[in-house]
């Protein structure tokens, strides 16, 4: 078409392509190459070790395996609650009234905070001795619910997951609101004429119509959950006893504490693969529930 006549148009993508190549493709390929070496990240020399790093990660690295399962727990908790809350809030705030617009902005507000600030706020909330949460529980005579929120290795990962949900629900809410507002009203009118109940309206009209938004929300939430490095690092540094160690913190530790860059690269490649597989599976599952275009 026009591109054949105006080849110059291709030049417009060149700057972006160069930047993408320099800052994404080259580092990614480098990581793949280094994953087959024993490079320490500092020395000029390294040795090719073949698949040894991959074999070690998958068969002989109990911390990585623990981090993987922690990450799955974290991801599932965040995925369920963040999607659920953002969808429920979006359904309540769908109309563009002044109150709703204000509330949407309020819920969105945490998203613009830096992760470190959020971590600081929630570390204070969770403090077992002088934190807001335990103090409120005490004042409501609910002492039996008091917890060492970040110090108890059985619940610490879920405590951080709650913070993650609080942090990003507002962002997902906006995506759902946009999806809900795009649903043609006449579909609901037809459903009403057919005698559909509220649940049927949601199941047969709302959900199929917002499936594309849900796909984005769930894929993004999954990726965010796997990359929640900053929040976890600032709140617990993976402790206590590895109970909040996730793949991203583990890779950081391997690369920048142990200086095993080759090994960390192998962990990163596996990490990318895991996210890719989960995201593709999600896309396929959600595609099935979409309205056929």
């Amino acid at each position: 078409m026009h591109f054949r006549k105006n080849k110059s148009l291709f030049l417009f993508i060149v700057p972006g392509l160069i930047l993408y190549t320099l800052f994404f493709i080259v580092p990614t390929l480098n990581a793949v190459i280094y994953s087959f070496t024993d490079w320490d990240g500092l020395s000029p020399d390294f040795t090719i070790v073949g698949f040894e790093n991959y074999i070690n990660v998958l068969t002989n690295d109990s911390i990585f395996q623990k981090a993987f399962f922690n990450n799955i727990k974290f991801m599932l908790f965040v995925l369920v609650f963040q999607t659920l809350f953002s969808l429920i809030f979006a359904m309540f705030l769908i109309k563009n009234t002044k109150t709703n617009i204000f509330l949407r902005a309020l819920y969105f507000f945490p998203t613009i905070l830096s992760s470190v600030s959020v971590a600081f706020i929630w570390t204070f909330i969770y403090d077992p001795n002088m934190g807001v949460l335990n103090t409120v529980l005490d004042s409501l005579n609910l002492e039996f619910l008091r917890q060492n929120w970040l110090g108890n290795q059985n619940i610490a990962i879920y405590s951080i997951a709650v913070t993650q949900v609080w942090f990003h629900t507002g962002q997902m809410l906006i995506i759902f609101v946009a999806g809900l507002q795009a649903i043609p009203k006449h579909l609901y009118e037809v459903a009403d004429i057919e005698g559909a109940r509220k649940w049927d309206r949601f199941r047969f009209v709302t959900w199929p119509m917002i499936a594309p938004s849900a796909t984005i929300v769930m894929a993004y939430t999954t990726i965010q959950s796997f990359k929640a490095f900053d929040l976890i690092f600032a709140m617990t540094r993976g402790g206590p006893n590895y109970s909040t160690e996730i793949l991203a913190t583990r890779i950081y530790s391997t690369a920048f504490r142990s200086f095993e860059f080759g090994y960390a690269s192998a962990q990163s490649v596996i990490f990318m693969f895991v996210i890719a597989v989960i995201t593709v599976v999600q896309f396929r599952l959600l595609k099935a529930s979409r309205v056929q275009e």
Binding site: N6, K7, S8, L11, F12, V14, P15, I18, L19, D40, G41, L42, S43, N56, N60, D61, S62, I63, T123, Y126, D127, P128, N129, M130, N148, W149, L150, G151, N152, Q153, N154, T236, R237, G239, P240, N241, Y242, S243, Y252, S253, T254, F256, R257, S258, F259
Partner: protein
């Protein structure tokens, strides 16, 4: 049209590349001789900024051809990025290193300039700077001397008629007396530095051999052996009897310092470096140091733990090594080291320094006592170090010492060659 777009692209790339290389400017080719110009000094101690500003100003007055640009990184960031920053020689002409795994990593990268022939080494206590030596070379010079055992409230102990204990049974009785009197015996910052600090004095007599962690990495001993199981069991006993503050695994260092400064706790499970912070919050407190003796008095070989750290070094890739060495020499001067010590509340490894702060005077006797170098810093593998500390957290979280030790040893086994 093509020419116009191509031109814009070239300009954009040019700007990008200029941005990439722009940061390395500021040097002067005439400075390659290394005796003058601006040198970069990097370290992790934000709390020392004021005293270093003062010392740098004095240094620049005495050496008008040299200026010092100090950059301070958060401790965690410093441990992870210093090595990378040092590589091209433009940052960190003078830098500092932790002993242990960071020293080992920087050395492997060949970034330490050998300081063995420098005259300023004579100003230091030979024994205390040995941690910066390797293969007969003095690669770094530790400036700080800290003691990594619990800080205690001397006034409170006197009021209750208590004295530091000489064996484990007496230490437990001491804790019981403090608890009976309504105090938290030990404020323990279990969520951050606590395990890495208290483990040192807890393990020092259970494994009196200073090579124990070398042996661990060589597969000659195991965390499931008595020395570590005993240590974990003693941590468990302190926790189960309520001698550590409640929810200690959720308590950070500043929270534990508050418990100590507010006189809710009688001991703080960290080290001498916390004394200045406690005194800042409660200047009326009289503080001392004590180490829990985990054996009988007869079996105890060590009285406490010391660490020589904040190791000053010159970057082997620096183009201003002469100026960098002058700055290290300046910091090694007795008067300047004294300024540093008294204004930061830290002992130093330079000999002949007069300490004038109360907390430094009250702990000066520890320089003469039988202390051993901090065992944790002798673990040169970061994963193994973390596994050792995690096993303490596991026990405080409810695992049995045997199970926690076994899990930690599994990680050690994955790192044994």
């Amino acid at each position: 049209m093509i020419k116009k777009v191509a031109g814009i692209t070239v300009l954009a790339l040019g700007a990008l590349l200029a941005g990439c290389v722009g940061g390395t400017g500021g040097g002067n080719s005439s400075e390659d001789g290394g005796e003058e110009g601006t040198i970069s000094f990097i370290h992790w101690r934000g709390e020392d900024k004021a005293v270093f500003d003062e010392l740098i100003s004095k240094f620049e007055d005495e050496n008008p051809d040299i200026s010092v640009e100090m950059t301070i990184y958060p401790s965690e960031q410093y441990q992870s990025t210093a090595q990378t920053l040092l590589r091209d020689g433009s940052t960190g002409d003078v830098f500092t290193s932790f002993p242990g795994s960071q020293f080992d990593i920087i050395n492997r990268a060949g970034l330490f300039e050998d300081l063995s022939d420098e005259g300023f080494l004579e100003k230091y206590n030979d024994e205390l700077i040995s941690v910066g030596q390797l293969d007969g070379q003095q690669l770094a010079v530790p400036l700080q001397l800290v003691f990594n055992q619990p800080v205690y409230n001397v006034g409170l102990f006197e009021e209750l008629g208590l004295k530091p204990a000489a064996n484990w049974e007496d230490f437990l009785s001491l804790c019981q007396d403090l608890q009976d009197a309504g105090y938290i015996p030990i404020a323990f910052p279990g969520s951050d530095i606590g395990p890495g600090q208290l483990m040192n004095s807890m393990v020092m007599n259970n494994a009196p051999n200073e090579d124990v962690f070398d042996q661990l990495m060589a597969g000659e001993t195991s965390l499931t052996d008595d020395w570590w199981i005993d240590t974990l069991s003693q941590f468990q006993e302190l926790d189960e009897r309520g001698f550590l503050n409640q929810d200690s695994l959720g308590t950070n260092h500043s929270g534990a310092i508050s418990l100590m400064a507010n006189e809710q706790a009688a001991m703080l499970g960290s080290g001498s470096f916390a004394m200045a912070s406690i005194k800042e919050m409660n200047p009326d407190l009289e503080l001392g140091l004590l180490a829990p003796i985990t054996t009988t008095e007869e079996e105890a070989e060590w009285e406490g733990i010391h660490t020589t750290t904040f190791m000053l070094a010159v970057n082997a890739n620096s183009t201003k090594k002469g100026a960098a060495k002058k700055f290290v020499e300046f910091l090694s001067d007795v008067e300047n080291a004294g300024t540093y010590a008294n204004e930061t509340g830290q002992h130093v490894t330079v000999e002949g320094v007069e300490y004038d702060s109360e907390e430094l005077k009250s702990t000066i006797d520890w320089t003469e006592r039988n202390t051993r170098f901090q065992p944790r810093f002798l673990i040169t593998n970061a994963d193994v170090e973390k596994a050792v500390l995690a096993s303490i957290q596991a026990v405080l979280g409810g695992d049995s010492p045997e199970q926690a030790a076994e899990n930690a040893q599994q990680i050690v086994d994955q790192h044994i060659d």
